[in-house]
Amino acid sequence: MSLLTAKHKRRGAFLAVILIALSAATFLMLRAFNENLLFYFLPSQVKEGKAPENHDFRMGGLVLNGSIKKDGLTVHFKVTDLHTSIPVVYTGILPDLFHENRGVIVEGRMTPSGLFKADQVLAKHDAKYQPPEMTPQMKKYMQMH
C-alpha cells in the first residue's frame, strides 16, 4: 500500500483546487471591501474629504501633546497624524488609556467650523507592556523590605 496512489492523488488535487479557488475568492473579496474594513480615518484623510460627510465616522491618530483642555466633563483636544491635526470636543468619561501622545479613536461627525464633535472616545493600546519606572520612594521601599 502506497501513501500516494492514484486515488489519493486525485483527492489531494481536488482539495488543492478547492483551496486555491477559495483563497483567491477571499482575497478578491477582501480587496473589494478594503475601504469598509478600515476602522478609522486619519486626520489627513478627513481634511482631504475622504471621510463620509453625512453620517458619523471614526477618526484615529495621536492625542496632540499639550492640547488637552478639561472643563468639567467636557474635554477639548486635538487628534494628529503628524501631518494634520483636527480639534475634537467630547463630553463624558474618558478611558484609562487616554493620554497625550497616545493613540485615540473618536467617533462622531465634523461640524462646519472644522471641529469634530465626538460621541465616543476609544483609546488605542500601543502593544507595549512595561513596569513603571521606579520612583525614589519605591526604591527606598524596596531596599527596606
Binding site: 519605591m138 521601599y141 524596596m142 523590605h145
Partner: protein, 49 residues
Amino acid sequence: MVNFPHGFWNMGGFWMYVWPAYAVAFVVMALNVAAAYWPDKDDRNGSGE
C-alpha cells in the same frame, strides 16, 4: 507587597475586570474537563457534548 500598594484584594480594577475574566476562563475549562471525563451516557459519539 510592592506591586499592590492597596493590598492584593483591593487592587484597582481587580474585582471589576481581572477577577471576572479569570473566573470565566476557569469555569469554561473546568466544564471541558467534566465533559471529557464524565461524558453523557446517551450521546451518540461518546465525545462529551
